[in-house]
Amino acid sequence: MPYEVSPSPVAPVSTSRLWTVGASIGIAIVTLLILAILHPELANWLVGGAVVVAASAWLLNMSETAATAPTANDGAAAESSTDVVTGDLLDRVFEALDDPVLVVSGGEPDDIAGRRIVMANSAARDLLRIQRQGALLVQVIREPGVLEAVDEALFGGTARTTDYATGGQRDRRWRAWTRPLSVEGGRAPGAELALLILRDETDARRTEMMRVDFLANASHELRTPLASLSGFIETLKGHARDDVAARDRFLDIMSAQADRMGRLVADLLSLSRIELNEHIPPSGRVDLDRAASDVVDAISVLTREKEIVIALDQGEARASISGDRDEILQVVQNLLDNAVKYSSRSGTVEISVRSDLSFDEAWASRMPGATRLPLVTPDRASGISYAAVTVRDHGPGMAREHLPRLTERFYRVEGQKSGERQGTGLGLAIVKHIINRHQGGLVVESAPGMGAAFTAWFPQPVERR
């Protein structure tokens, strides 16, 4: 409802103003006429003035009623369509507030059934599923801390802020403000009111938790190889000092562990660098198909060792996208690394590049029968075509419940211990951030025993079309 047509609360105010205007004009006319009788020499001027004042008052009256008449009707309509609100502007502001707001009445201090909801805005009604006015407060909010704070506001007259969690699996954190609302004419017993405002603070808390978790995880991941390194050093200093065969074997393990630590640190550094740039759109141009073949060449040493065949399907057209070359290479590299890592000996990994796709084609299914889950989805924009790279392996695949967590840092699918496959647990997190920066998308499809397919897709520059 546009604001211009609906200021219903103004209606009663403006009629009363009209009345005062009318009254003062009347007084003016009467005064002028009396003056005209008392001072006949000025009568012509004064009567003329009275006529002008009367005429202008009439005109003013006409225009005012014309302006207010429709709005009064609108106000009445708004009033009848809502049940709790009374059609006042303040009420509608209250109603439109994003945070749940409630007004609670007190009743008797020792009777919990006395706390009733007098008013609740729509956010509160939706969140707490309040059915009617006068519902018991305790039926919708049971949290003891909040109930206590409400009591304090009602009977102690003190304002408070309480934090509480709804608990359970979808843990939401709330902050509740309670404020006493003093009633006109002193506080009659049983007529106390209190204001209760709730605000969702889940996101802030979650970010904080993630930071704490990340630090703990990162140090834990570094500690494992470090512990093994120092263990071997101790052994080499001690009884294995003169055992040539053991020494060689230990040094090999140590160098592998050092490599792993190096990779982890490198991944952490590149993750933080990418995060810093995440909100700066990339400016370069990359050919996705060429990037894919470059990565396939680079990885061939590793694949030859495991006798894995990589089938590259480059498509016909040049798949040019706007992006940062190094980062795009890293996306393909990480996806391909994962595919090779989870492929059995002498398996196949398929990588295909396609261009000029629409939004829906880009994230369409590549692996019928598998669970499909978009991990990153860009905003839908019209007139943009996308180029996509799909990496498909025939490894063990993943169960449905793991898919949403794949891009979490250090998340590993259960049963896959770090070290066994030599991953850092950061590969897909890096992929996700790069794709976010490029405003692309990432879709995973997998089912146990069917392998997995990851599709990353990027917007192509508009000039090409």
Partner: protein, 246 residues
């Protein structure tokens, strides 16, 4: 609404329901805080949980007294009688829930003296979240008189058992791997058992809600049904680990 001198019968009944809801909120907070105190090794929080249990006991006595008074003076029949009896039964379940939460908090105090056991306390936290969700859902069903929600809680009872079995095995492997952890692991095992029993109380409440609304017992298959009379029985269940025999 503003009768101060003589409270109507309906008001008295409402008051009992409201008291039960409040008690439910307190029990929920006790369970959530007890789990938090384990996960965060928060000694102050654990102590607070132990202390607050008194309040829960007082509320329980109060509700019982009010319900008995109402039955004696008003002689409720049909749905009113069911509501009154339901309130009494739910209050008893909630009181037991509070006791179990208190026990978890006490064990958290002992655990906090030793080394942190991250992966295991995480598992306890996960199971705890599941149990709190069930408790919250069933109390929501009670305050809103929603039959479907109560039945949904009742039907998903086996989830908690599954968690319990997984945790039991996890703890066993841990203890076998490093006998020094047996002390701490035993406490964790009892915590898991307590959580499992809290889950059973939630199921009991779901049954009571169903009875209160319909006047009938829930019929139908509950996955891996257990005799529920046993749940409120303080003697330990002898088939403690619900290990699958196959």
């Amino acid at each position: 609404m503003n009768q101060h001198t003589v409270k109507a019968y309906g008001d008295e009944l409402n008051q009992i329901t409201a008291e039960v809801a409040r008690m439910g909120g307190l029990a929920e907070a006790q369970v959530a805080d007890a789990i938090d105190s384990v996960a965060r090794r928060d000694i102050a929080l654990a102590r607070a949980v132990v202390e607050r249990d008194l309040k829960l006991d007082a509320l329980h006595r109060d509700i019982e007294k009010k319900a008995i008074r109402l039955i004696a003076l008003r002689q409720p029949v049909a749905s009113d009688l069911r509501r009154t009896l339901g309130a009494m039964k739910i209050a008893t379940d909630l009181e037991r829930t509070g006791d179990l939460a208190k026990n978890i908090a006490k064990r958290a105090l002992i655990l906090a003296e030793g080394e942190p056991m991250q992966p295991l306390t995480r598992s306890i936290e996960r199971m705890g979240r599941l149990v709190s969700t069930r408790l919250r859902d069933v109390l929501d069903a009670y305050t809103a008189s929603e039959l479907d929600r109560a039945v949904a809680v009742w039907q998903t009872d086996d989830e908690v058992d599954e968690h319990y079995n997984a945790l039991f095995r996890e703890l066993l492997t841990y203890m076998m791997g490093d006998p020094r952890t047996i002390g701490a692991c035993t406490h964790l095992l009892f915590m898991a058992k307590n959580l499992e029993r809290i889950g059973d109380h939630a199921t009991n409440i779901a049954e009571t809600v169903h009875y209160e609304i319909t006047g009938d017992d829930i019929v139908g298959e509950r996955p891996r049904a257990q005799p529920t009379a046993e749940d409120s029985d303080p003697t330990p269940n002898l088939s403690t680990p619900h290990l699958p025999t196959h």
